[in-house]
């Protein structure tokens, strides 16, 4: 094999798999995660640990504003926490059962809040 061909073969051995693998993986449907991957709405009747989430905001200041509104409605123990996907969520973590959570969600929605029952993240 000529030196030129040898170098070409070596370059192909490196480049083809290193470029091909990510292309194949992407074509196979592997997607990039999005902020919505941190939202896990609780299925009806769930027996997992639950949070009543009042919304997510991109900045701490916006989340703090929502937190004030939520506390004003009566959820004085509500908190703002990072959600792990670049947003801040306002939540109440004192939910002990799905039924209790569903009632609280209905009350919160009645007060004009966009509340949702979500599965508590691990950890």
């Amino acid at each position: 094999m000529s030196p030129h061909r040898l170098r070409l073969a070596a370059a192909a051995i490196v480049v083809v798999p290193l470029v091909g693998y990510p292309l194949v993986v992407a074509a196979d449907g592997a997607r990039s995660p999005t902020a919505d991957d941190c939202v896990h709405v609780a299925p009806e009747g769930s027996t997992e640990a639950l949070d009543l989430v009042f919304g997510r905001r991109d900045t701490w200041a916006e989340a703090d504003e929502l937190l004030e509104r939520v506390r004003g409605v009566g959820y004085v123990d509500a908190e703002a926490r990072p959600d792990g996907c670049w947003r801040w969520k306002v939540l109440y973590d004192g939910i002990e059962s799905y039924e209790q959570g569903a009632e609280s969600r209905a009350e919160a929605r009645g007060a004009g809040l966009e509340a949702e029952l979500e599965l508590e993240p691990p950890g």
Binding site: M1, P3, H4, L6, R7, A9, A10, A11, I13, V14, P17, L18, Y21, P22, V25, A30, S32, P33, T34, A35, P82, G84, C85, W86, P122, G123
Partner: protein
């Protein structure tokens, strides 16, 4: 997330550029191929220099902000470039084509396999959650404290577990948070992927030309997939970083013992200075590397080693002074229970030769060490053997000295498995040198 990844990539490219600038100042580059070959070492040097500088600056009360981070990288890079200009270091020109022999295909296959594996690991790294106790209990909180409070917050740095640990890893975490645009602990794991890529490139780049390619790549690939490392590669703690810094420094000194090129000693000094600011055992590791380098060197080289040792010792001082001012204990083993020595040696031995954790790397390295001692480069074998023994003894000392540690390999009771990682990484990095010294002797006879 794409913005965070782009920021993180930019930060790590900056580390590499800064480190390459240091290398340019230390040794110059003949070709761009040289630059590429030493890019991994350059990256680690950039990380090390940045970490050491900021450890000193933070203890002096300099605020840690985005502009300051960028400014410090520019200053370190400029210092390297100015040194290069003053020393008239050679400027790279031309690509420097690799020799077109069939072994080039082996080299290409090694790069492709390692590259593919690292690409696959990237997908794992970018979606890891913060699970390990040490990571969420103090390593990452310290990084967050530096990021949010722009310095060594007294409360966080004196009350979290393992307060004596120096702050280099949290500094890197905080810099990553700045680059990402927020303290996002999921994407933070990608920073550890960059460190891994840098480490692989550094070891392979340093070994190039010192061992045949077909001997270089198998140990590198093998150590990447040993069960213990695979499980802990991206845990946001300082264990892998301290091991990498020490092992690459030890490799540089192994090569320095052969060619006495001053740049190798200087680069090793920077890496060891970073290791002593990364973890407590980094001090033991760095001391072991330097002591063994003294032991196997002729007296006429001792002055250079003494200067290197003094520089490393100096690098420890800022954090030790800050820690002492804040009543943080030194963290050295408080006692020496002789009754535990036998059990500690057995435990360390069992952990080191555990194929469930480290596959066959320690076993193969032991055989290679023996072969090199008999048929190959005896000084290299003495250097690697003594260093391994000292690192092993350090692990035993830790188990003997901290009586609260249980005599078990369970990591919740004893960190001996983490500690042993340095010996295994050293074994993998040194294997090509040891084997090639035997091989080349055979070729010569």
């Amino acid at each position: 997330m794409a913005r965070a990844l782009a920021g993180l990539a930019a930060l790590n490219v900056a580390y590499a550029v800064v480190g390459l600038s240091i290398l340019w100042g230390l040794r110059g580059f003949r070709t761009w191929g040289d630059v590429l070959r030493l890019a991994g070492l350059g990256y680690l040097l950039g990380v090390a220099a940045f970490g050491v500088l900021w450890t000193a600056l933070l203890t002096a009360g300099v605020p840690f902000g985005g502009i300051e981070v960028a400014g410090s990288l520019v200053i370190i890079g400029a210092a390297g470039a100015v040194t290069a200009l003053v020393r008239r270091s050679t400027v790279p020109h031309g690509i420097g084509r690799p020799r077109a022999t069939p072994i080039l295909l082996v080299s290409a296959a090694g790069i492709a396999l390692a590259g593919l594996y690292l690409e696959a690991l990237f997908r794992t790294a970018r979606l890891q959650s913060l699970q390990s106790y040490d990571a969420w209990a103090f390593w990452v909180p310290k990084g967050k404290a530096i990021f949010f409070f722009h310095g060594l917050d007294e409360h966080v740095f004196t009350t979290t577990p393992n307060a004596p640990y120096p702050p280099l890893q949290p500094i890197l975490d905080a810099a990553a948070f700045h680059a990402m645009g927020g303290a996002e602990v999921v994407t933070l794991h990608v920073q550890f992927w960059f460190l891994l890529v840098g480490a692989v490139a550094a070891v392979a780049g340093l070994l190039h030309g010192h061992a045949p390619e077909w001997i270089v790549w198998p140990p590198v690939l093998l150590v990447l997939v040993v069960p213990r490392l695979q499980e802990h590669l991206f845990v946001p703690q300082a264990d892998i970083l301290v091991d990498v810094l020490v092992v690459v420094a030890a490799l540089l000194l192994a090569l320095w013992l052969r060619d006495r090129a001053g740049w190798r000693l200087a680069a090793a000094t920077v890496l060891l200075a970073a290791s002593v600011n990364t973890k407590r055992e980094g001090i033991v590791f760095a001391a072991a590397v330097l002591v063994v380098a003294f032991a196997v060197s002729l007296p006429r080289y001792w002055l250079r080693l003494a200067v290197a040792a003094a520089a490393v010792a100096l690098a420890i001082l800022p954090w030790r002074i800050w820690a002492a001012q804040h009543d943080i204990p030194a963290g050295t083993p408080p006692s020496f229970d002789v009754d535990r020595i036998g059990a500690a040696v057995r435990l360390s031995f069992d952990v080191l030769y555990s194929t469930e954790r480290w596959s066959v790397v320690p076993l193969v390295a032991t055989i290679a060490l023996a072969a090199a001692a008999v048929w190959g480069d005896r000084r290299l074998a003495a250097y690697i053997g003594l260093l391994s023994l000292l690192l092993f003894a350090g692990g035993v000392w830790s188990t003997v000295g901290f009586v609260e540690l249980t005599l078990t390999a369970d990591e919740s009771g004893n960190p001996i498995v983490r500690y042993t990682g340095s010996i295994v990484l050293l074994a993998a990095a040194a294997l090509p040198l040891l084997l090639s010294s035997v091989w080349r002797r055979d070729e010569g006879t």
